[in-house]
């Protein structure tokens, strides 16, 4: 992995006696979407806050695009889980201020703000106070505030929580555009479906440690499937008696078959074909959710 955009090297952070993040090591390449997954209290937000230099690690090293976290602040766009803006300021003034503290020249900031407000359909609201905007509009404004300074890295803490469907699509589009432009998107979530669809890489965290770090395909291959989903014509009660089968569960018309030890899924297919016509035969791929539950075990709520 040449020149990763983000490196964490044995990063540790404790709060009192609680080890929020424990010797976490991570390399995030350019131009990817990286998902931080884990139950509440796994250390996702603490990790993100350390990358952002909001809090300092007790030990370990963080490097962002070759810089230390304090020096990299202007390269990152951040959207925290708890969202909020200055309610009494106008949309334009909020963006001008956030641009200024991100080190943008004021002319660039106002141009970028105008372009983004236009894109999300808030151009007519630029002179209004934030508190006059609807909740959905405030969500849009929050995205704009995160991305309009043109960051190299986007860090989103639980970006999908509480979004209406339109804004959900909007933020996903923005994430994909960023990746296409060669930038890096890091986000935390506990919504597995979203992560499955969007992520190139996954960091699975539990109790401050990395439980898994890699691509989605890698994690699936680790969980060799022991189940198939089949649909056959006519009476399917014979299936239970086949030697390859240890358990059967009916899901609508389909059967979820658990293979017996040492059995091959292709042998099962042949056995089925000898008795009847097979409408569908699918090797069940474990979902992220299942892997998650399996890996994190009882601590997942």
């Amino acid at each position: 992995m040449p020149n990763p955009s983000l490196v964490l090297d044995h990063v540790t952070k404790s709060f009192g006696s609680l080890r929020a993040v424990d010797a976490l090591t991570l390399r995030v390449p350019h131009g990817c979407i990286y998902g931080f997954l884990g139950p509440n209290g796994a250390g996702k937000t603490t990790t993100l806050r350390m990358i952002l230099d909001i809090i300092a690690p007790d030990s370990g090293r963080i490097e962002i695009l070759g810089r230390t976290p304090p020096a990299a602040k202007d390269l990152i766009g951040y959207m925290p889980e708890e969202r909020g803006l200055y309610r009494k300021m106008t949309v334009r003034a909020v963006l001008a201020y956030l641009g200024a503290i991100k080190g943008m020249p004021s002319r660039d900031a106002s141009r970028a703000a105008a372009r983004w407000l236009e894109r999300v359909g808030l151009a007519d609201w630029a002179g209004r106070k934030v508190e006059e905007l609807s909740k959905g509009m405030q969500q849009k404004l929050q995205f704009v505030a995160t991305v309009f300074s043109g960051p190299q890295i986007l860090i989103l803490d639980e970006p999908f929580s509480g979004l209406d469907p339109l804004n959900l699509d909007l933020i996903k589009d923005i994430m994909l555009e960023m990746r296409a432009a060669g930038k890096t998107v890091i986000f935390s979530t506990h919504m597995m479906e979203q992560a499955e669809r969007l992520c190139d890489f996954i960091l699975l965290m539990n109790k401050g440690r990395a439980v898994f770090d890699g691509t989605f395909a890698q994690i699936q291959s680790e969980y060799e499937s022991r189940a198939v989903l089949v649909e056959v014509e006519g009476d399917n009660r014979f299936v239970q008696a086949l030697p390859q089968v240890s358990a059967v569960r009916a899901i609508g018309k389909r059967l979820e078959i658990e293979l017996s030890a040492g059995a091959d899924d292709q042998d099962l297919l042949r056995a089925l074909l000898q008795r009847t016509r097979v409408r569908s035969f699918e090797i069940k791929v474990p979902t992220l959710h299942e892997i998650f539950v399996h890996r994190v075990g009882g601590s997942h709520e």
């Binding site: 806050r49 952002l52 809090i55 602040k73 990152i76 909020g84 201020y97 200024a100 503290i101 505030a145």
Partner: protein, 422 residues
């Protein structure tokens, strides 16, 4: 640095655009000037204004003074036609006790008679005293005492003069008062008149200016920090600037707004003083000291309120935590009169070296009496130069931890831990 200035700029604009700030900016001088004008008016009314006729009963046991008393009171009524006194002379009872009549004392108590005087039999010879019964309710009553006393003395002196065969004309010559004007020598020659009112009010004016200026502006720091915390924008801000940059920017913005406030107030006060011709009464050095102490006092309170705001989630929480601290900050206000009366007393000196209120107490003392020992002024600046950065440092450490904390405000022990480990 540009980030600090960006924060300062927003903080400044938010402060000066705030309605409360604008109201303070305009209304406080208007009220203060209006109040001063009114109090001067009422004070004049109290001393020289019209009054109802007051009833004075005099019992002359010497039996020599009746005519001269009537003349003395008549003269008073001619001099002060707006404050007439009605004199009733009563005959002494033959063998009355020397203490005067209980019945008349009761009438004084009831308010139908304003005063009741008993002139001793040997008053003219100087061997007896006069008794005066009164019920003092206000300043006007006190002033009446001296008027009555003066009239009685005039009558007695007139009798004595006649015994020595002095003509009334000679007597008037003897009595003629020489006029008397008070002139304070001030700091230097040509310092101008320094009336007593200015000497008492100038220290209070500077104290008031400092206290109100410091708290009116720094209120914005407190509400601003709590707003940023409760609206959760603080994390976004901290992803762009460090807590130290944020705190510094806030303070710079507030200091700028503070100077606008005291500039306007000080300007208005100077203009008013110019109109009244007492502008030269306060030496220039006091203004210089004021500016220096204001900066220190301002930063002290600003860092205190920033730390406090960072620990709280709502304004109500902040107010309840602020109350104990405010007791210290209002000490100079409570004690101002005492301090101006004894600007170098032990009490004033001790309060001067309590860092949170050092600026307020020192300016009070300097304005009250510019000659307070130089070593104390120097010591106060050394103390502030040490304690204000210390306070800023402590505030920065509390701020950095507190601003990301939600839930219950921390206990004093937790705060100490934040300061040590943050």
């Amino acid at each position: 640095m540009s980030k600090i200035l960006a924060v300062a700029r927003r903080e400044f604009l938010e402060t000066v655009k705030n309605k409360i700030f604008l109201i303070n900016l305009v209304l406080v001088p208007a009220l203060a000037l209006g109040g001063a004008a009114l109090s001067i008016y009422f004070a004049k009314q109290a001393v020289g204004g019209p009054r109802e006729t007051r009833q004075i009963v005099v019992e002359d046991r010497s039996g020599l003074l009746a005519d001269d008393l009537r003349e003395a009171f008549a003269q008073h009524n001619r001099r002060r036609p707006q404050q007439p006194i009605a004199l009733t002379l009563i005959e002494p009872e033959a063998d009355a006790p020397t203490t005067g009549s209980e019945e008349l004392a009761a009438r004084v108590r009831a308010g139908t008679v304003h005063g009741y005087a008993v002139i001793g039999p040997g008053a003219v010879e100087g061997s007896d005293k006069c008794l005066y019964y009164l019920k003092a309710r206000n300043l006007a009553d006190m002033e009446l005492v001296s008027t009555v006393q003066q009239c009685l003395n005039e009558a007695i002196v007139a009798v004595r003069a006649r015994r020595r065969n002095l003509s009334p004309k000679v007597l008037d010559e003897i009595r003629a008062w020489t006029s008397f004007e008070q002139i304070d020598v001030g700091e230097q020659a040509g310092g101008g008149k320094r009336s007593e009112a200015v000497m008492v009010m100038a220290p209070f004016f500077f104290l008031f200016l400092m206290f109100t200026g410091v708290f009116a502006v720094n209120q914005q720091i407190l509400t601003g920090v709590i707003e940023e915390k409760s609206s959760r924008i603080i994390e976004v801000i901290l992803s762009a600037v460090s807590p130290f940059q944020l705190l510094t920017g806030k303070m710079l913005g507030a200091v700028a707004a503070g100077f606008i406030l005291i500039g306007v107030w000080g300007g208005a006060a100077y203009a008013a003083a110019l109109i009244k011709g007492i502008h030269a009464a306060v030496p220039l050095s006091v203004f210089v000291y004021f500016t220096l102490y204001f900066i220190f006092g301002f930063l002290m309170v600003a860092s205190f309120l920033a730390a406090l705001g960072s620990m709280c989630n709502t304004l109500r929480e902040a107010q309840s935590m602020m109350t104990p601290a405010m007791i210290i900050f209002v000490l100079p206000i409570i004690a101002w009169f005492y301090i101006t009366q004894q600007p170098s007393g032990l009490f004033a000196v001790v309060l001067s070296f309590l860092p949170p209120i050092t600026p307020m107490v020192m300016i009070l003392r300097i304005a009250a009496w510019p000659e307070i020992p130089l070593w104390q002024i120097a010591a106060s600046f050394v103390l502030l130069a040490l304690s204000v950065p210390a306070m800023l440092w402590i505030a920065a450490r509390i701020f950095r931890v507190g601003i990301l904390m939600y839930g219950k405000p921390p206990s004093p022990r937790e705060i100490l831990r934040w300061i040590r480990y943050a």
